[in-house]
Symmetry: C2
Subunit: 388 residues, 2 copies
Amino acid sequence: MVLEAIRHAGAIARIDIAKRSGVSPATVTSITSELLAAGLIEEVASRGKASARGRPRVALKIRGAAHRVAGIKVSQRTTTVCILDFEGNTLGSHETPMPAPRLSPERMVEYLVATLAQACRANGLRAEDLSALGLGIAGIVDAPRGLVHWSPTLAERNVDLRALLRQRLNMPVFIDNDANLVAKAEQLFGEGRGVSDFLVVTIEHGVGMGIVIDNRIYRGTRGCGAEFGHTKVQLDGALCRCGQRGCLEAYVADYALLREAGVNMQTTGADDPATGLEALFRAAKAGDETALTIFRRAGRMFAMGLANLVNIFDPALIILSGERMQFDFLYAEEVLEAIRGSVVQVDAALPEVRIHKWGDLMWAKGAAAYAMEGISEIAVERLAGNVA
Amino acid sequence: MVLEAIRHAGAIARIDIAKRSGVSPATVTSITSELLAAGLIEEVASRGKASARGRPRVALKIRGAAHRVAGIKVSQRTTTVCILDFEGNTLGSHETPMPAPRLSPERMVEYLVATLAQACRANGLRAEDLSALGLGIAGIVDAPRGLVHWSPTLAERNVDLRALLRQRLNMPVFIDNDANLVAKAEQLFGEGRGVSDFLVVTIEHGVGMGIVIDNRIYRGTRGCGAEFGHTKVQLDGALCRCGQRGCLEAYVADYALLREAGVNMQTTGADDPATGLEALFRAAKAGDETALTIFRRAGRMFAMGLANLVNIFDPALIILSGERMQFDFLYAEEVLEAIRGSVVQVDAALPEVRIHKWGDLMWAKGAAAYAMEGISEIAVERLAGNVA
């Protein structure tokens, strides 16, 4: 708790830690001397005014050099690595193409180990310099167990990816669903700073969601929570790539838009989905009625899904996060209007909906931040073990 | 925390409180002596074996006589009162008809004050014997503020019902949405005991939901969360009594079933919704195809809504709670099968769905339990204030 208070504040005097945490000053002094001895924090001159006796006040901050952690975001085309110090400063990043959109567990592990080594070399580090790895992967992940129930990037189900990576890497490994790590990144570095309860929704190949309740990622009992993209918006509706019918994703994800375009338009014959989607978007912008009706229905379905989230969570904030925010039919004023028209009506301001465009590096940064949290917990547990 | 540990255990020795809570034995002794002095707990002979020296071991329990609290559940036809002692034992109950389905705030307050007085008299108590009142009401309630945004039982919106009741009653008043209080009752007395994360869904005049995450009721930012009944299951779908279209409630609530029955059937001409619903149910049981198709579609829509909850929350348990569990088409094996077919598929057991039939007294008991939690917090804060 003390470590988190220091991380949150940046630099903070002992007495202010006591005030904010409700822990007695004596206990704070005792805990912080343990953290100092372990090299996790360091003393710096406080920016505040000096004490009455003219002595400069001393503040505590996280010691950046204490640990270096890597975060990896795996997607079907590229993999992004981000390396942070223990203070959260970015030391470097690296991007490599995926050898294939879907890999066997063994090839995935080989590829990730090699990618991590490359990223270290490219940034003048050795693999031994890292204290932990955080990994974000699309799909259904049981984060506490490090188990990937299913991922579009893995050729097998129920892969104990953490155990496989631990066999090859001499460091703790933390794995989570990539949308949860976007939520983590938004919480620490983005639009979610200082907000205790918020939702993050991402639209890319699929529709992802991260839930932050009481400052913590909510994952569900089996790690299968927050599957917003597979909530049903239509009984017996459109076929989803998950095999079920009527999923929100089957109306708003890339493949859903292209599927409709494929039926009625010649504009999007491209093999590459990204190119096809660009073409569809250009056609809509140019006023093509078919393209417009595709985006508009997707927007209405998206609004219905978001309104359902508001009706269930009543969050302070919803962040629509990702790289493709240029497809603005999904984020248009008429979509926001449709949300307003579908939520329970009370005389209180609606949750704010913020649109946040950022790239794969931020996802990787979220993964690294997740590893940093993990390594902090391990360090504190070790300290508590020494004390006891 | 110590008080909750004692309440949870029933009777527990000081040393076991220390073990379970991670607080030092010295601190437990100090806190429990404060609680003893304040009369909130008392010492009893432990049921465990005597200590080595033959001295009987002493356990601590909640002192039932410390406080008496009342819980009231308001519904459109009747109001139920339940009185508990501080240990949670039921001291008495009382039921009165509502003078009208919908009351002005002033009449509601008059009615509740009179009902509470009646309930006290009927159980040999005076109003002054009560330490707190908990009130459960259908609608949208901002519980921390005691504000009723909207209720089908109130003729006005944005009623500060807590302030109005406080003016008339010389005790703290705690108000919440009735479904949240069912969740509270399930957590303390029902199927939710020992489960940290679960959902409660009720179907009566409307569809309600209570969310328990990490042992606490989740209410959302404005108290408008958990509005499961108004999540949309169909774009531009059936008209709901809230004025919007496609709400789950507009397919599965009493009025939705009767609306469909009214179009095509002569069996349900009764003015009384309860009688009409009974007739529709009997017709379905007797094999009437129209009645069957009404219940079956409702069941499929209900399954879709419940599957969406599983996809979002991945809870350990869903409790379908309420009085009308006899309408078993909504809870039939084919509904559970439809849920299984609409949730994200992983190789892990599905959340358990339990059906729990209970009446208005349990809702009132949940309201009383909510008041008991509130009065405990006040008592502990008062103690902390005395100590500081």
